[in-house]
């Protein structure tokens, strides 16, 4: 095997170490007011759930990894005036759904990472965009899009928080060339 072949084979093996799919677990908590929230869950542009969410409810899906983004959207639909009991300037009862957590392959995005708060947006149906929202309180779409490959980037963010003490350091190009030359000669 020449150097290029060796490197190509290495690269082929390294490429197999990227996750091909994710298990997404949504821990939701719904509150009713003249009916339970109607929620649509869309993962990588595919509707994986469309229906009522009642009380505490966990939904789990497996989604294939895509090239650029892991896109998670939750949409609240059909909420009207009758779903909010508003009297004397006080909300007595309201229909909404809290996202208690989103776990990707068992890792909490809400409690273990900042992405839940920092990278999510809520876009109301009237196009108003809100940030740092933890649930579906209005008709509209809550969305978080994580850059692929998800975990190497989350690892990087986690390391960064800890002062980058254990960041991996790639081998010097010149050393790699000489090592490959040795292998070739052998």
């Amino acid at each position: 095997m020449n150097n290029n072949k060796l490197e190509n084979e290495m690269q082929r093996l390294v490429a197999t170490t990227h996750l091909q799919q994710y298990t997404i677990k949504l821990e939701l908590e719904a509150f009713e007011c003249n009916g339970w929230p109607q929620v649509e869950i869309i993962l990588n542009q595919e509707v994986v759930f469309d229906g009522e969410i009642k009380n505490k409810n966990t939904k789990e899906f497996v989604v294939k990894a895509q090239e650029k983004l892991l896109d998670i959207r939750l949409v609240l639909k059909g909420k009207g005036k009758r779903n909010i009991d508003f009297r004397d300037n006080t909300i007595l009862k309201n229909q909404y759904c809290v996202i208690n957590d989103i776990k990707i392959n068992g890792i909490s995005m809400r409690w273990g990472h900042q992405v839940f708060w920092e990278d999510s947006i809520f876009e109301k149906d009237n196009k108003e965009v809100l940030t740092k929202v933890d649930g579906l309180y209005w008709n509209g779409t809550w969305r978080v899009a994580l850059q692929e490959p998800v975990f190497p980037l989350l690892n990087k963010i986690f390391q960064n928080k800890g002062g980058n003490k254990f960041n991996p350091v790639p081998i010097k190009e010149q050393h790699l060339t000489e090592i490959l030359k040795f292998v070739k000669e052998f």
């Binding site: 093996l13 197999t16 996750l19 273990g112 490959p149 975990f151 690892n155």
Partner: protein
Amino acid sequence: MEKLSYNTKSMDTVKQTTDFLLITGPIRSLIYPPMALALLKGIVENKGFNCKTVDLNQMYFTQCESEDQFETDTKMFDNKVPVDFETLYISACGKWITNKVVDLVETHRPKSIGVSCFSHYNITAALLILKVLKEHYADIPVMIGGYGINSPLSFCEEFGLGLTRKESFAETMKSNGLVDTYVVGDAERVMVNWIKNKTDISDKQHKLEKLEGLPYADYTDLDYKNYEYTNGITLPVTGSKGCVRKCSFCDIPGKFGKFVQRDGKEIADEVIYLYETYGAKTIFLTDSLTNGSMKAFLVYIETLSNLKHKRGYKDLQWTGQYIMRPKHQIPHAKNYYPMLAESGAVGLSAGVESGSDRVLEHMNKKCTIDDVYTELEYFNQHKISSLLLLMCGYPTETRSDFEKTLNFLRDIQPYFSNGTVIKAEVSALWFARDPQSQWGRMGPEQGMHFDPNDPKLWFYEPNPELDIKELVFRRLTLHKTINELHIPNGIEKPEMQRLFDYLKHNKENIKKFYHNIKRPQHEQQ
């Protein structure tokens, strides 16, 4: 050897004030102070002798301008590359050690001296210390000890000192008159007798029958507040010696013999003592396996959890090496994981070694990769952090097995992102044949060809695809994977430097080795 420029008085004309001076030199990790020094000081002083302990490794580090300077200056002491003694002696670190040793002897006037070698990385510096002592204080009895003295002085001839080479560093030093004796194994019970009587104790391996009742380690001589701690002052404690397992690649059963476990309550008490006395917020258990005896381990974590709770020591943590057991052995009835978390377990270091069940079975690991996933998920749920160790190129590892290790790294990625796994490290480049391991007892008759002077240079006939080329390929692939997945790691940089140096310095020897192997018949045809 160049003469020192200052006077060294003859020992019979000066007043001796210290019974025992115990020194250690570079190279040793600075993540916690050397326990052997503190433990022996505690024992020796408990018997009424005075003892001064000095860690030249840490002292040299503190006077270096940077970590890089320390690494550069001490690299030639690593027993990995040939170096002549004169070069060592006139190097910045060599001169500093020489002056310091003389200064220590002049200051403390010891009646006897010990040089501790934690590992094979310490023995080149120990050689320098012993040469200085021999040159200037030949009358003072000197002994050496520590795990490292069992290792060979890799490039004995290259030092140019005319040393007669023996199997171990200890025997080389003794037969060349550089030490009076050495202690193989546990020095705890024999050290005081040697200080008293100076009789030769090198004739047998010393082994503690029980670990209870020893005085606590005394760190007062050491600059214990200024080590390179990752989590506050970290001090070591020993809970057991030896190992309950007999992993085929490991030298521990061969070197430490029968497993000895200390009472779990006593371990917890010492942990509390170190926290209260020295402010040590992290305790490092030096055991080969902290949970080798589950009975003692459960007592330890339960006692420590209770003491921590009772005294409000929320910031007290401990770390150490941990075995991942088959899932049916997990003592869930004892509320195991919550109690482990409450005891302050962090950074538990586990030798996973391979992602292939086939290789794990060959290694005699007595667990499967599924057991590892199970334990990691419990760690994740209970916020217990871990450090995983992997091995590349086990003699029976096929390419398919290797790919399973890559798959393992792929699948545990999520745990790096929340600190359940702090680091994953591949050390020693690839499998290194240890003479005291099961592989060390195999020779060409069993298909194992090896270079007696280079533990990394071997060839196992039943797995002919795994030659040096394939070993380098697999190691580099792991390195690239670690970088691609951004897997936290503390040693890849030095390991890759080591790979480069290894191939550079041993190129001819490697070629010669493979040339001399008689390939299996079917390969020749």
